[in-house]
C-alpha cells in the first residue's frame, strides 16, 4: 500500500473480507488482508542466505516494522523535530503535540488513561522504574503517600518461575536492597503458572506480585483475574509483564485491574528504544521518581526540588520523541487491523506451529493446544542442540531464536539449557510455517540422529 505522513495503516481492500468458516467467533485476516499487511513490511521482501526468501519467526524477540511506522519516524525528523514540552515556537508545539498524541494512541490501545502511560526506554526500564521507585520509597523518599511502596525485612516479593529475566532480576535486586524475601509461583509441566499456589504463597507479607501475562518461552497466557484478586486480598501491588500479550491479544488494562504493566515498543511493530510503563493513576501519583533531572521538575532551588505529576515525573531528560511518535502509529496500525482479527489470525498460526509436535524427535516445551496460548512455540529436537537446529533452519531462510530466551529458571525447570523458538506476529503466514516445518523435519537427518 502507499503510505503517507499521517499513516492509517489499514489494508485497503476492494471488497469486504470473507469470514473464515472454521473461526466462528472472530474473523481472522483473509488472504487478501494478510497479503496487504505483508506488503506493509518491506523487510519481508528481502532474501537471506543465498537468495532464500526470509521466513521471519522471531517476532517474540523483536517484531518487524510496517511502512507507516517507518514513515512516521522519518516524517517526525523531516518535518517536526524539536524539543518537546518547552519552547514557544511552532516546531516545539508540533513536536509536543505529536509526542502527546502518541501517548494517547497507546493509552487507547491498551485501555488506559493518557496520564497513566509513562514512556521508558523499554519494558526492562519500566519494570526497573517500579522496583527502584519502591527502593526510594523504602528510603523515605516521596513522603507519606509513598509509604505504601516501602519494603521492610520480612516483607515478601512474589514472582513466578516463568518470568523473563527482566521481570525477575529487578525483584531479586529489590529484595537484596530492602531485606525483603523473594518467593515464586511454580509452573506445571505444560509451562503454565500454577495460579492456585497463590493462595499459599501470596500472603499478608506479600508487597509485590509480579508476573508475566504470557510467557516468552511457552506462549502460555496467564489468567490475570485470580492473581489480581489474590493480590488485592492481601494488599499487594501487581506488576504485569505485558510484552508478549500487548502485540498479540486484545488488552484492556483497566479491565485486567493490574496496578502496573510494562511493555516494549519494538515487539509491537514499533521502534526500539521506547517502551511503556502503565501505572494506575493513583499509584503513579504516589510513586517517587527514579531518574531525576530536567523536564521532571516543578521548582528547583539549590537546596531541593519539587517534581511534576506523572507521567512527566518519570520522564527526566530528553525523551525518545521520534520513537514514541512511531510507537503511537504502531498502536494505531494494530488497533485499526483489530486485535480480535490479529488474535484470530495468530491462533491459526499457533495451531499450524503446534503441529510440529508430530515430527519424530521434536518435543514442544509448553502447552500443546492453542487454548490460552500465543504463537510462541519453543521446542527441542532430541539429539540435536538448539543452536544446531537454528543453524539448519537459518540455512533455509527461517529465522528462529535459540538459547534460553532470557528465561534460564524456566528452562532449568524443564531440565534443559536451551530451546529453539518459533514466534509469529500479525504478518506471519501459513506458508512461513510450511517452510519452517519442512526445514525442521530435515534436522535430524542432517545430523544423522536416528
Amino acid at each position: 500500500m502507499t503510505t503517507t505522513a499521517q499513516p492509517v495503516g489499514v489494508p485497503q481492500l476492494d471488497e469486504p473480507a470473507v469470514p473464515a468458516e472454521h473461526c466462528p467467533t472472530f474473523t481472522a485476516l483473509s488472504p487478501r488482508e494478510l497479503a496487504a499487511v505483508r506488503a506493509d513490511f518491506p523487510i519481508l521482501e528481502r532474501t537471506v542466505r543465498g537468495g532464500r526468501p526470509l521466513v521471519y519467526l522471531d517476532s517474540g524477540a523483536t517484531s518487524q516494522k510496517p511502512n507507516p511506522v517507518l514513515d512516521a519516524e522519518q516524517d517526525f525528523y523531516e518535518r517536526r523535530n524539536a524539543a518537546v514540552h518547552r519552547g514557544a515556537h511552532q516546531l516545539a508545539e508540533e513536536a509536543t503535540e505529536a509526542f502527546e498524541d502518541a501517548r494517547a494512541s497507546v493509552a487507547r490501545f491498551v485501555g488506559a488513561d493518557v496520564g497513566e502511560i509513562v514512556w521508558t526506554s523499554g519494558a526492562t526500564a519500566a519494570i526497573n522504574l517500579v522496583a527502584y521507585g519502591m527502593s526510594n520509597a523504602t528510603l523515605g523518599r516521596g513522603g507519606d503517600v509513598a509509604r505504601r511502596f516501602a519494603l521492610a525485612p520480612g516483607d515478601e516479593i512474589v514472582v513466578t518461575e516463568a518470568e523473563h529475566h527482566a521481570n525477575l532480576v529487578p525483584w531479586q535486586e529489590l529484595a537484596a536492597r530492602t531485606g525483603a524475601v523473594l518467593r515464586w509461583l511454580p509452573v506445571d509441566d505444560d509451562g503454565r503458572i500454577v495460579v492456585d499456589a497463590a493462595a499459599e504463597i501470596v500472603t499478608e507479607r506479600t508487597k509485590v506480585l509480579a508476573f508475566t501475562h504470557a510467557s516468552n518461552v511457552t506462549g502460555a497466557v496467564t489468567p490475570v483475574a485470580p492473581l489480581v484478586a489474590r493480590a488485592r486480598e492481601v494488599g499487594a501491588i501487581t506488576v504485569l509483564d505485558a510484552c508478549q500479550s500487548v502485540p498479540h491479544l486484545p488488552l484492556d488494562l483497566h479491565a485486567l485491574g493490574v496496578d502496573f504493566a510494562a511493555f516494549s515498543g519494538h515487539k509491537m511493530l514499533g521502534p526500539t528504544g521506547v517502551g511503556v510503563l502503565y501505572g494506575r493513576r493513583e499509584l503513579l501519583e504516589a510513586l517517587p521518581p527514579v531518574t531525576t533531572g530536567g523536564s521532571m521538575i516543578e521548582v528547583v532551588t539549590m537546596s531541593g526540588s519539587t517534581y511534576m505529576p506523572p507521567p512527566q515525573r518519570f520522564e527526566a531528560g530528553t525523551q525518545m520523541v521520534a520513537q514514541a511518535v512511531a510507537l503511537g502509529v504502531a498502536a494505531t496500525y494494530l488497533g485499526e487491523l483489530g486485535m480480535d482479527a490479529v488474535a484470530a489470525h495468530e491462533r491459526e498460526i499457533t495451531e499450524a506451529l503446534l503441529a510440529i509436535d508430530d515430527i519424530p524427535g521434536v518435543r514442544i516445551v509448553g502447552p500443546r493446544t492453542a487454548e490460552d496460548r500465543l504463537a510462541v512455540v519453543s521446542f527441542v529436537v532430541d539429539g540435536v542442540h538448539a543452536h544446531d537446529v537454528g543453524q539448519v533452519l537459518d540455512d533455509a531462510g527461517v529465522a528462529v531464536r535459540v538459547g534460553h530466551h532470557c528465561a534460564q529458571p524456566l528452562h532449568r525447570r524443564f531440565g534443559i539449557t536451551a530451546t529453539a523458538r518459533a514466534s509469529a506476529s500479525v504478518y506471519t503466514s501459513l506458508e512461513d510455517v510450511v517452510t519452517f516445518r519442512e526445514s525442521l523435519a530435515g534436522v535430524r537427518a542432517f545430523f544423522s540422529v536416528d
Binding site: V384, H385, D388
Partner: protein
Amino acid sequence: MSSLEQMYQQVILDHAKSPQGKGLIEIAPGHVGSESHQVNPTCGDEVTLRVDVVERPGADGVPVATVDAVSWEGQGCSISQASISVLHDLVAGQPVTEAERLGEIFRELMTTRGKGLEDDDDEEAIGDAVAFTGVSQYPARIKCALLGWAALKDSLVTAGVLTTKEQA
C-alpha cells in the same frame, strides 16, 4: 558444498558424536593441575576444562612445561563440543608454549570469515581444527568454537604456566 555443509564438516560431526577427552581425570601426583569453567551466556553452553601440567625434558634436555593431559566436562552445541574434542587431541602432550600457539592460530582462523589461514604451516599445525574454517563465516557461532580454547588459556594462566591473561 553449501555454507551449512562447510560449517558442519564431517570431522566436526564425528567429534561431536564421539567427543575426545570428555570426563574429568585426576591430576597425576606431583603435576600441576588447574581448571577453568567457561559459559556462553547467550545459549547456556558450558565447559569445565582441566589441564595437567608437568615439566618434561625438551629436545635439548632442558625441562619444558608440558600439557600432560587435558580433560573436560560440558554441554553444548555440536560446534562447541567438537571444538573442545579437537582441542584435546591437538594439545595433550604439547609444551605449554605450543598449546598457546595453537590457541592463537585457532583464534586467528576464527577471524577469517570463511577464507581460512594464509600460512600453510599454521594450517598444518592445527590439523583437524582446520575443519572449523566454515564456522568463521557465522559470527554468532564463533563463540561456540572458542569456548574450549578460552577455558584452555584461562586454566594455563591459573596454573601459573602462562603469564598473560588476555581476553581469549
